[in-house]
Point group: C2
Chain length 225, copies 2
């Protein structure tokens, strides 16, 4: 349970979909925290100390206790600050939220990234197919619901930030049509609802610098073909 | 919460480390269930209906509500039947249990499997290295503790069944030394504690048929080189 003498820190980089998950959770809960910006080209001693296993952001540090892995952090935040629940209390609904969050990580995030940032054409095409299949499952699941968990933002929506905000940016850079309103009308509707939610809107990184960043990365990659 | 009119079913195959996780959880809780043996070469309509996304076992069905993904199922079981807790109640300890379970799935299970069942020598060597690195992190984490969560079997131990029981079988078949008492003394001690725990012992599949099964698979693979 949270107390008044908290030290809440987040080691992250602006523009990371995984860091953004934690920021959405903290903003939903109204938790104040210190954002420690990492330079991934020259990782801080703090990052190496707190996440010696993966050496990645986000790392969440609550009263000097570090936690890594974005979804593990979001569950921790939800259990520690009880207002505005992120996971439903019903065990079956919780299981579904965890299932779809894991599905997004296992079947969509990697495939969509590789659809854009892969030089080999065959490999790229395979990942495009996998992304479309993954999005189709999400389309079938969201149906007419406002959010994956119902009326409020939950774990699967937070995991899905990548789909709602990041995929549209990177597909535009690569001239791909992965996630469009024509192909996935319900999921597209969800994504608009999600990115325009006041809490999410405030936390999402600014689009233009992110676009420029990914575009440079894409051009470096395709130039080296 | 569990009631008296339960229908508890598990779709699985004998010998799967992921199915075994669910079986350990159910046995720890003392929950009776019906085991529905799947033929993965000819999947049942029930499996395709209940896990249309991955079409894989285990699928846990509680009063006709299906759940897939072994760790999601174990968390569901822990929340539904409250005796003999599998996850600690403290949020930070829960986060650690989830972190290490995910670590085992992401960094050890795949790498160890590919260390054995890969034809390409370079790819195989890369996976051997990754497995050893993964096991070293587990060695550092378990230290002198009896189980990952302390005195009782918890989520990370259950996830670690693969390390304790399956790796020794498949490494013997391939003549590899991945997980040995010399390299990882604390983890080895843990593995002996774990596989000799009365509940685990009762649930683990018999070693010999599993050895024969994996040996045949290994020989088919290496013969096709």
């Amino acid at each position: 349970m949270a107390t008044n003498q908290e030290e809440v820190q987040l080691l992250g980089v602006v523009g990371s979909p995984f860091v953004c998950r934690v920021q959405i959770a903290l903003k939903l809960k109204g938790v104040e925290y210190k954002f420690l910006e990492e330079n991934l080209a020259n990782k801080s001693d703090l990052l190496l100390k707190y996440n010696p296993v993966h050496k990645k952001v986000p790392v969440f540090v609550h009263n000097e206790k570090p936690i890594a892995e974005s979804l593990v952090i979001v569950e921790y935040i939800d259990q520690t600050w009880n207002n505005n629940p992120i996971l439903p209390s019903d065990p079956y609904q919780r299981a579904l939220a965890r299932f779809w969050s894991k599905f997004i990580d296992d079947k969509v995030v990697g495939a969509a990234s590789k659809s854009v940032f892969t030089v080999d054409e065959k490999e790229r095409e395979k990942n495009v197919q996998e992304t479309l299949e993954g999005l189709q499952f999400l389309e079938n699941e969201i149906k007419e619901k406002k959010f994956f968990g119902g009326e409020e933002i939950g774990l699967a929506d937070i995991a899905g930030s990548f789909v709602a905000f990041w995929i549209p940016i990177v597909q535009e850079i690569a001239g791909l049509q992965l996630f469009t309103s024509e192909k996935f009308p319900n999921l597209y509707k969800w994504s608009q609802e999600f990115i325009n939610h006041p809490v999410v809107k405030e936390v999402l990184p600014p689009r233009e610098p992110l676009f420029t960043f990914f575009k440079a990365r894409y051009e470096t990659l395709t130039a080296s073909k």
